[in-house]
Amino acid sequence: MTTYQWLLGLHVVAAFFFLSGGVMVGLVHATAMRRARPSEVAYLLGLTRIGVVVVTVGALGSLALGLALVAHLPYRSIGDTWIAVSLALWAASLVLGSIGGRSARKTRHLAEQLARDGDTPSPELRRLLTDPTAFALNFGSLLAALVVLALMIWKPA
């Protein structure tokens, strides 16, 4: 196996962590949205933290290995349009996901507080769980990551 094959294979494995971690966070969050009891919401949102760790490891790994690939190949450069656009979208995906993640953290803290104070459903918790701004930020983050993936496959000039 050549260095190129190792770098490319590991780059794709890291990309799997990045996007699959996002799938996991989405599945667990969607389940939490359908629950009313704060203790259940807090428990489920607590599990999303593991998904966030997987996403972070994948994002950083895919970036490092992607840059190593560009450095390894003489005919590729960070200035290539599709690579530059991919880097910008990768950063946008992380920034949007990070801002959207703050809302999820605030929701989890409220759910934990409510669980300690009687564990009764709260309109405020429901509002935070279904916050359209947080949804838009997380959806934007996912969309940016999907466009990066498409660019990696198409490699347009």
Binding site: V12, V13, M24
Partner: protein
């Protein structure tokens, strides 16, 4: 459909598969002895999504292979891994996920099987990309 679109769909389905497996593994591990109803149902639904995604990934992969006339030992090994290490265990995982709705003691088996399948899926992705001789 263009070859690149088929490859993108194939990769997206595979990433959904790994995401569903990670969900099943993490939630079943977290369940322990005090699993709530929603988390048990989440494990069951994740295993169902995993088996559906495994089936769809293989179907789209075979369609791409037939269309592009791709061949090579790396592809044979990766296909074998996908069938033996993902599709058949995926069915077993879904059966376990359904049984675990009433039997808490099955959760560690789901965790172990789902993590093993994640390893197989990532190894398959590595082979499909690196294409070793």
């Amino acid at each position: 459909m263009r070859a690149e679109a088929l490859v993108l769909l194939h990769v997206l389905l595979a990433m959904t598969l790994v995401g569903a497996l990670l969900t099943a593994a993490v939630v079943s591990a977290a369940c322990g002895r005090t699993a709530t109803g929603p988390s048990r149902r989440l494990v069951w639904h994740s295993t169902l999504l995993a088996v559906a995604a495994a089936f769809a990934t293989i179907v789209v992969g075979e369609a791409t292979r037939a269309r592009e006339h791709v061949d090579g030992s790396w592809l044979d090994v990766a296909s074998g891994l996908a069938y033996i290490g993902l599709l058949f265990p995926g069915v077993a995982l879904a059966v376990l996920g359904r049984l675990a709705l009433d039997r808490q003691r099955l959760m560690p088996w789901i965790t172990g099987l789902a993590l093993a399948m994640v390893a197989v899926a990532l190894a398959t992705a590595f082979l499909m990309t690196a294409k070793p001789a």
